[in-house]
Amino acid sequence: MNKLDAHLPTDLATHSPNKPVDKLVVENLHLQYGDNPILKGVSMTLNPGEVVALLGASGSGKTTLLRSVAGLEQPSRGRITIGDAVLYDSEAVIDMPVEKRNLGLVFPSYALWPHRSVFDNVAYALRLRGIPGSEIEERVNQALTNLGLGALAERLPHQLSGGQQQRVAIARALVYNPPVVLMDEPLSNLDAKLREEARAWLRELIVRLGLSALVVTHDQTEAMAMSDKILLLNFGKIEQQGTPEDMYNRPQTQFTAEFMGSNNHLPGKVREVADGRALLEGEGWKLWGAARGALKVGDAATGIIRLERTRISDGAGDNRVRTEIVTGMFLGDRKEQLFKLGALRLRCYGNAPSGGSESFIELPPDDLWIFANDAA
């Protein structure tokens, strides 16, 4: 393992925080607990100065992937590199110890050491690197000031609020200028209200300091808000990756489409296919939509459309369905109406249509994605 040390920047202290130069590359990573595969060949790239979100439901392997990069989990196959430094390579039998990887990690629980003050929590990494006391003081104070914690240096972790603890955890992960900062559900421990503010604050911080960050989250809004690129994981495999706009507006699979937003679902059968469009028929309705993937006439398929693209209209027309209103909900910044179409329920933003319980809903063909159902 000692050979590896040569690959690491020799003076970590002078590694500039504002210009990360190394690219994190994960290639074909496999990991299992016993016989239970958690990661089934994941590959990804994190470019310098980029924020990548690992998104997925619980059990998708997103946290495991992050912890494998940190060196806290033991993959069975694959390769992880940052620039020239090989962190893990199953073929070359390289597995760099956690402490040599020089990465920053923010834990969901923050994991502040309860027996050390805020200052000592942040300073610990610098002391381990043998940096002289005066410089430690300067850098810790700088980090604390950066994060708006200047006055709290002497407090113990339990004397801080949740939001303050989160900032200390981030300061602790940033103070030694790691080439990549790993964040595991960094906002999950905050109250819902605080979370939105912290999201904006964290995005600003990442951009201001020019950090390369890998962020795990289960919340698609959080992922879109904070990152330049999203990796959606599904049972140990990457379902789709791309910019937040790509992921939201151009999902390649039904899973991605459903995960990224709030949707209406219309199960039916394909009746016609033409020019990238397909005609989907269900009980008492027929709609044209954009065909996603290969579709054949007769296939069972599902139409998916974002709630905000579903429109309440004033009369019959192309790609409209006749529905009956069930109820309405007031959400504060908007209203949501619930309609009945046979056994189906359609949701829609907007005011309740005037004139009786019967109303028409328009589902524009470009926004109605039709995915073939899995053979299973």
Binding site: G71, P97, H115
Partner: protein, 559 residues
Amino acid sequence: MTARGFSLPRSAVVAITALVILTPLSLIFWQSFLNAPFFNPAKHLSFDAYRFIFEDSDFWSAFLNSIVIAAGMVLIALPLGAALAFLLTRTDLPAQRLIEVLVLVPVFVSPMVLAFGYVVAMGPVGFYSLWAKDLVGDVPWNVYSLASIAVIAGLTHVPHVYLYSSAALKSLGSDVEEAARVVGANPLKVALNVSLPMTAPALFYAAVLVFFLGFELFGLPLVLGDPEGHLVLSTYLYKLTNKLGTPSYHLMAAVAVCIIAVTFPLVLLQRWLLKTAGKYVSVKGKATRQKLLPLGAWKWIALAIVALWLMFTIVVPISGIALRAFVEQWGEGIKLADVLTLANFRQVFDQSDQVRAIVNTFLIGTLGGALAVACYMAIGLAGHRQRGGVAKVLDYLVLLPRAVPGLLAGLAFLWIFLFVPGLKELRNTIFSVWLAYTVVWLAYGLRLISGALLQIGPELEESARTVGATNGQVLRHVTIPLIRFGLLASWLLVFMIFEREYSTGVYLLGQGTEVIGSMLVSLWSAGAIDQVAALSLINIALVALGLAVALRFGVRLHE
């Protein structure tokens, strides 16, 4: 942290632990299959020893007595301990805090001392017996019968059941009980249909534990079983020394193997039960304040029963010892005021071996206790967050000493110190006793340490690794500082356990290795009642000192 192979210090700790545990055990095992002591040149492999004890009717009656006493203890201790736990955790019984502390006294007072207390308090001419005789004209009990031994042992083991069932009751979320109330169960139904079944694994564990402790019992049957000749396996083993006149090590080893053959499966069963018991633990994080069941007028009756039990298990034996320590002699027709004296203590302090015993006992508890905790910590840390095969081996390895009663472990260490070259010089130092104590209480000490280690979230250590600390630095800067208080608490508990221990030192007793516990066994055999009383009282004072410090610092006295 993931297992990345065992580092050098880790391997060293595991190797030393294995050596210290396996050497005495294999020696016992080997010796049991020889026809003579292992140092005898004429020895050869044979089943003679087993043949001898299996043909000895005393062995079989001792075996039967052991089972009867152990079973009797379970029958007495289990319902009482469970009821006491329910009263103290779920009802508004008065004086709860005081009772909670007093309940633990029988756990920390040496059984040898307790047994002696019953003799001087309730024996044929004991203080309470004679007072009873004055009142009703006869002594209405006989503490020397087999049934009495079982009752006394059962009552003094109520705390063990109490500790496990109260822990289970406390960890039982009040939500499951409230849910039962909401769907229409009355408090009694809740207790019978929800609380009891959910604590059943803990109760079953406690039953196995008490049976196991009963099978190992030594001090109580040694003192109380002697007058009527009731032997149990451990006292049978002890008496074998004198039976043939010559050192009958092979016979003792054969009995030892028979005892371990029963106790080791019980230890494995306990371990398995402890793992499965966790499945009902339903509270995570903050515990809601339990609503206490009002007992109404019944609380005074319940309190009276608890007080009666405390009276019998604590007040009677300890007051008996306290009185006996300050009288010249005691018997029928003697007035207390006439015989009061300090001579017993003067006698003790005149004898250099007894003074050494007191000093040694104190040292083995304080310095020895600290050293033992350091060893337990090293072993605990060696297995900390390890999942590999070696960690598993360590896991089972430390269970072995649990199955070996202290008397046997002391015997095995005596053999090692006598016949392993290089160790002979240490034979007559307190080190030999300390080593035996440390190994005998290894499983207990490790439970204390791992209890402290379990409190540390793995992410506290992982975060230190990610900021650049090596495994060793994580231990020094995060793990050990975080278990500081746990280590201090363990030291106090180990202090009390080492003060109380008596059987392990019995065979190691010699010039320089005296401790109060083994001294009591030896003095009792020699009939020196006055000094036994004085030393017992000093022993109680030492334990009380530890208990007081522990309470002062708010140490939890059990896991």
